[in-house]
Amino acid sequence: MNRSWAFHFRILAVLAVLGIAAFPVYWMAVTSMTSSEELFAGSPRLLPDPAQIGTYARALVSTPLLTWLGNSLIIALGTTALSLLLAILPAYALSRMSFRGKLLLALGLFVTQMLPEAMLVVPLYDIFSRFALLDSLTGLILANTAFAVPVVTWILKGAIDGIPTEIEEAARIDGCSRVGIVLTIVLPLIAPTLAAVTVIAFFQGWNEYVFAQTFISDESLKVASVGLASFVGELSTPMDTVTAVGLTYTLPAVVFYLLVQRYIVAGMTSGGVKG
């Protein structure tokens, strides 16, 4: 009886936490489908009004939302690919090799994370201006990658640390090269961590605002985070449109997370079974 009560209590607690986490998203959905009159009514509407679904259609027609989302996707995928490419070998070197300045390099990566974007935006703007990287998605991918690589490197280093060196030594005896070891042995073993850092790098590129706002002037290259902010006006803000666009903006990122999340869970589970 006591066990059953505890079980139900745990279920309730989990549902409560889930509810708290999901409520803001639900509230955005309700707001996006509520008429302006009802939005400011004394008793707020708790369920979306299906008759207001047109807000989404209007947002799609009256704004270049799809272009913004497309640009964000290019930047997020570019940042993810480049970050992984640049972080894997340094992470392996930091984990497995001894060389002069290793500690300094590792700390140096940490230090770059202590500088806020707002502080770096002016010198970066100047550098990008000289290299004709302003008003280009490539420039934004490079800027975001610079911020993602240190984090990704450190996380991957931690994962590689956890792999027994004996496995690599056995491979080396069998004639496998260093790069071969990294590609064929290390990476498969840290697949869940790779999935996790993929999510981190993707969201770095997807959510970034300061660089995107400052480096891009061309309307056709605008990203969704900046486009969304442009609805918040000096004199008025169309709340239903903002929440409709905001919700649409979160969907691709959620889908990407769900796709990658399978590998994180699969990796964790397989590790547990093997013991």
Partner: protein, 413 residues
């Protein structure tokens, strides 16, 4: 209908296409393209009208094209300053007055004395603020007065309050049943907006932030009286505390806020959202008629590669026909030159009269003589005012602190 072309047949097609493409490129390259940033471009209604106004210029030109740039209002000034500091940025920039002075004093703007001949234009009185040390760095793009706008249904007899006591009485009476008597900003997230709201109270009680020679007067009795009134309204619990301006303006339009003191641009946007909810306006209910004013110059970025093209656009914008059109699309705002309103316009928007009547009493919301220090002054004043509202600090103590801070740290006296 569609046939596959064999290899040799493709040659002339590709050749023709390449020639056509190269001709198009040559034609596009011949045009000097300049960019123009203004937070207006992102506004619902006015933004589209303003883009059309710019498109009209583009249609009249063979060699110049102006491209509007949209930058979110919340990060407008910081983005522009970052771009200017990095040696680039839009060619033409619409600034608010505080940022205008900061940019001019930092050498980020191109002097316009060779571009604009004062004798050719009938400028409004606000043009006096476009010069720094007798050098012109901008022309007024728009200026807007402040007035009290009200929902007649929520006020006794449908009439606006005539003095501050009546104002508080009406605001309290209108508050309840999810309605609010008044609305203003009171959060650091809207620092610029709080500055304008506080300035209206300070000016309305006869205060000024400084003397014309730049001597700060932040703790003068009149300024303190304005801050006390600001606090009195806050304590009366008649405002939707924490609500941002965009939201409470919408609440006003929905008939949930009885009164607010706002600039003509807001009244124009609210009117544009539907004629079914007419706007009413009157003078602010303060002892003195002076109120703040939105004054926004358009400037030429010192980094521009095409100063002549930027100058051509400004000269076009100052033509009487374009000024008339610009004033009409901006609504309750004035432009660089004197433009009389048409009878039709006044008949369609009776509230315009209250805003226009405020023109002689409108004063820029700046510390005179300390214009280039405006961003820092805004920060200090708003910080202290919020301590008065939310931290229990007395208005006198708070403004003494501002005075001391400005004198010792900013002016090093």
């Amino acid at each position: 209908m569609i046939k596959k072309l064999s290899g040799y047949r493709m040659v002339p097609v590709i050749g023709t296409a390449a020639i056509a493409l190269s001709l198009t490129q040559v034609s596009a390259q011949e045009k000097t393209v300049i960019t123009f940033s203004a937070s207006h471009f992102a506004e619902v209604g006015r933004g589209d009208a303003l883009r059309e106004w710019v498109a009209k210029f583009n249609g009249s030109q063979d060699e110049i094209e102006v491209q509007p740039i949209t930058i979110p209002f919340s990060s407008y000034a910081s983005t522009i300053f970052t771009q200017m500091g990095g040696g680039a940025g839009p060619d033409l920039v619409r600034f608010d007055l505080p940022e205008f002075y900061a940019a001019a004093n930092a050498g980020r703007l191109l002097p316009m004395d060779d571009v604009i001949d004062d004798a050719q234009y009938d400028f409004t009185s606000a043009d006096a603020y476009m010069k720094v040390d007798d050098t012109r760095f901008g022309v007024v793009f728009d200026s807007a007065n402040y007035a009290l706008i009200y929902n007649a249904d929520l006020l006794p007899g449908g009439e606006p309050p005539k003095d501050i006591d009546e104002f508080l009485e009406y605001a309290k009476a209108a508050t309840g049943n999810d309605n609010y008597g008044f609305a203003y900003r009171a959060t650091m997230a809207e620092r610029g907006g709080v500055w304008y709201d506080v300035t209206n109270f300070v000016y309305g009680f006869g205060g000024r932030w400084s003397l014309p020679d730049g001597t700060p007067t932040f703790n003068s009795p009149e300024v303190v009286a304005g801050i006390e009134a600001y606090k009195q309204v806050y304590d009366a619990e008649v405002i939707p505390r924490g609500t941002d301006a965009a939201t409470y303006r919408r609440m006003f339009w929905e008939g949930r806020v009885a009164m607010e003191i706002d600039n003509g641009g807001v009244a124009t946007i609210l009117t544009a959202q539907g004629a079914g909810k007419p706007i009413h306006a009157s003078a602010s209910p303060f002892p003195h008629p002076e109120q703040g004013m939105i004054l926004a110059p358009v400037t030429i970025n010192a980094n521009t590669k095409a100063p002549d093209a930027a100058g051509t656009f400004l000269k076009w914008a100052l033509e009487p026909e374009q000024q008339q059109e610009l004033q009409q699309l901006l609504g309750a705002a004035n432009v660089a030159t004197v433009v009389e309103r048409s009878d039709e316009e006044l008949a369609a928007n009776p509230w315009l009269a209250a805003y226009d009547a405020q023109t002689p009493n409108s004063v820029p919301a700046l510390a005179q003589g300390l214009e280039e220090k405006s961003p820092e002054i805004q920060q200090i004043v708003v910080e202290q005012v919020l301590r008065v509202l939310q931290g229990g600090v007395s208005p006198q103590d708070a403004m003494d602190r501002v005075q001391e801070h400005v004198e010792t740290r900013m002016l090093r006296r």
